[in-house]
Structure formats: C-alpha cells, structure tokens
C-alpha cells in the first residue's frame, strides 16, 4: 500500500510557509543579449512575516514606532464614546440630511451602542447623526430605508444601511433591554410623513389628508415597559 497525499497544496499554503520561514535573496544578475551584458542587478532582500522578523530581532524598533504612530492617528478615527458605553454593532450606511436647500445622503459607519445610535464619518471626522434610544418613538422600514420617528425634538430620521433589517432589529433589541416602549409607526405613501398610529384621531395622514387603507401591516412590536 503506497502512501498518498490526499490534501492538495494551495498557493496560499505555499506563501504562508515561505513567509513563516523567511526568504533571503542574495543575487547578482546580468541580463545580456548576444553575449553583451545590457542590464545589471545587485539584489539583496529578506522577506518574511513580521513575527519571523521580530523573532530574529530585525525591524523591532521600526515595528514599535509604526504601531505607536498608528495608535495616535487612529484614536481620532473612533467616535467619541461616553463612560460605560460599548459598541454593539458597526455597519456601513447613510443618513438623509436635509437643511434648507442642501439635501443629500451622507455616508459613514453606524455605531450602535448600548446608549445611542451614531452615524460616524472618518474623513473628515464628524458625527453625522446621533440619537439616544429614549428619543425613539418607533421604527418602520419603507422600501430600502429605515424611518425613525423621534421626539424631543420631534423629527423623522431616514437611514439607509448595508442591512437595514439587522439594524432595525438591533435597535429594537437595545430598546427592549432598556425597557423602552416602541410605538407602531407608519409612513404615508403619498407625502412621506411619518406618524405614530396611536396619535391619529382618524384614519388619515395629518399632513396631506390621505386616507389610510386598512391592510395587515408588518408592524413594530409594541413593548410596554
């Protein structure tokens, strides 16, 4: 019975072994045409994974200096968090910003913490959107957007994210953990007005008067704290 190799080697395995061991090249090369040297190369190179380099004591100071620099620079790129605040979820997304004549989607990374929802942009560094969970009255998904009805001050936030269902569920789960109530909210298809269902006196949109058609909705759970 002959021994067989059942595991096939891949290019990445090869690279990994080479980088792990380390590679040293010490070469003097002449490239010639018709016996006449035309190009000369003197090549000295050492290539290895950083762990291997450090093991041989090469580049130790440079490694520490680089990481020190990175630590200082990257500090600026994290959103400022409060005492005891921890990041629960981080997701790429954007917020519909409209002030005066300026209207556009501003992109960044959503940071969902145990206290707030933030949209943070790294370059230039700015918090594009922020709300505590106490301000959230209700959430609804409209097409590919997440609409949030906020109070104190009253406003509607329109967000888009890589996975809005996941974002919505994460917000609901944080609010549930904090025992905050969520109302059923709905967006008027005609004028885009977001309203809480409980505050409507009749079945009409308060802004444009469009009569709501009674149909079964996928609604946010009403949680009484």
């Amino acid at each position: 019975m002959e021994p067989t190799r059942d595991k096939h080697a891949t290019l990445v395995d090869l690279l990994d072994r080479v980088l792990d061991k380390g590679l040293v090249i010490d070469a003097d090369i002449i490239i010639s045409v018709a016996g006449i040297p035309l190009l000369g190369v003197n090549l000295r190179a050492a290539l290895a994974g950083m762990e291997t380099m450090l093991k041989y004591g090469i580049m130790k100071d440079w490694d520490e200096a680089t990481r020190e620099y990175a630590r200082k620079e990257w500090k600026k790129k994290e959103p400022p968090l409060r005492q005891g605040e921890k990041i629960v979820l981080r997701m790429f997304g954007s917020h519909w910003f409209s002030r005066g004549i300026y209207r556009s989607w501003r992109t960044g990374y959503f940071y969902l913490t145990n206290k707030r929802l933030l949209l943070f942009r790294e370059e230039p560094t700015e918090v594009l959107f922020e709300t505590t969970y106490e301000r959230v009255r209700g959430l609804t998904i409209q097409g590919k957007e997440l609409h949030i009805l906020l109070k104190e001050p009253d406003e509607t936030a329109i967000l888009h994210a890589k996975s809005i269902d996941e974002l919505k569920e994460a917000i609901e789960s944080e609010m549930k953990a904090m025992r905050l109530a969520l109302e059923n909210v709905e967006t008027c298809p005609r004028c885009g007005n977001l309203e809480a269902m409980t505050s409507l006196p009749e079945d009409r949109c308060p802004r444009c008067g469009w009569a709501r058609l009674l149909k079964p909705q996928i609604t946010t759970p009403v949680i009484r704290g």
Binding site: R5, H8, A9, T10, L11, V12, D13, L14, L15, D16, L19, D20, G49, M50, E51, L54, R67, A70, R71, W74, R90, F92, K162
Partner: protein, 105 residues
C-alpha cells in the same frame, strides 16, 4: 489559434485575475495577522482594529465580485494556480513517481 476577445470575457479575464491576486495577498496577510495576534505582541485595541479592517476588506471584495459577476472567474484563476503549485510540489516530493509515469507513456 483564434482568440476571441470581447468586452465581456476581457472583463472576466482581467478583472478576475486582478481580484484573484488581491484575494491571495489578502489571505496571506490574514494568516500573518492571526500569527501576530496569537504571538501576543499586539494590544487588545490593535487586535480589534486589525480584525475589523480585515473584515471590512472582505466585505468590500465580496461586493465587488457580486456586482461585477466575476465570482466564478476568480475561483477558476485561484483553482488553476493552486493546481500548478500542487503539481510542482508533487514533482519535488515524489520524483520517482513522475519518472515512472513518464516512462509508462
């Protein structure tokens, strides 16, 4: 030999090759990253930052492949390269087997 190069297979060919190389470099970097994290020379904050950026990079590459529809092309390039590596290593490790097979022909 007739080579038909049209817009579509050029995209699949060139872009597929580029993304395959990017993925290979990414995989090598990821393995080195794990080695450093396990080696204990990095702080917790550095480990977290490294993991997060590598993950973001993964997501970005997957999105590019999906948007351009080149997932199979990329896999084909990688499988091709892997089988070349496997063949060469096999020749080095089992030289007798190869000379035997060559003699049979």
């Amino acid at each position: 030999m007739v080579l038909n190069v049209d817009e579509d297979n050029l995209k699949h060919g060139v872009l597929g090759l580029v993304i395959a190389l990017v993925e290979i470099i990414r995989d090598a970097l990821r393995i080195q990253a794990f080695k450093r994290m396990e080696g204990g020379s990095l702080t917790e904050e550095e480990c977290e930052r490294l993991g997060r950026v590598l993950m973001d990079f993964d997501v970005a590459i997957e999105e590019i492949k999906e948007e351009q529809g080149i997932t199979e092309s990329v896999q084909a390039v990688r499988d091709g390269l892997d089988s070349v590596v496997d063949n060469i290593l096999d020749k080095f490790l089992n030289p007798e087997r190869w000379t035997n097979e060559a003699e049979k022909l």
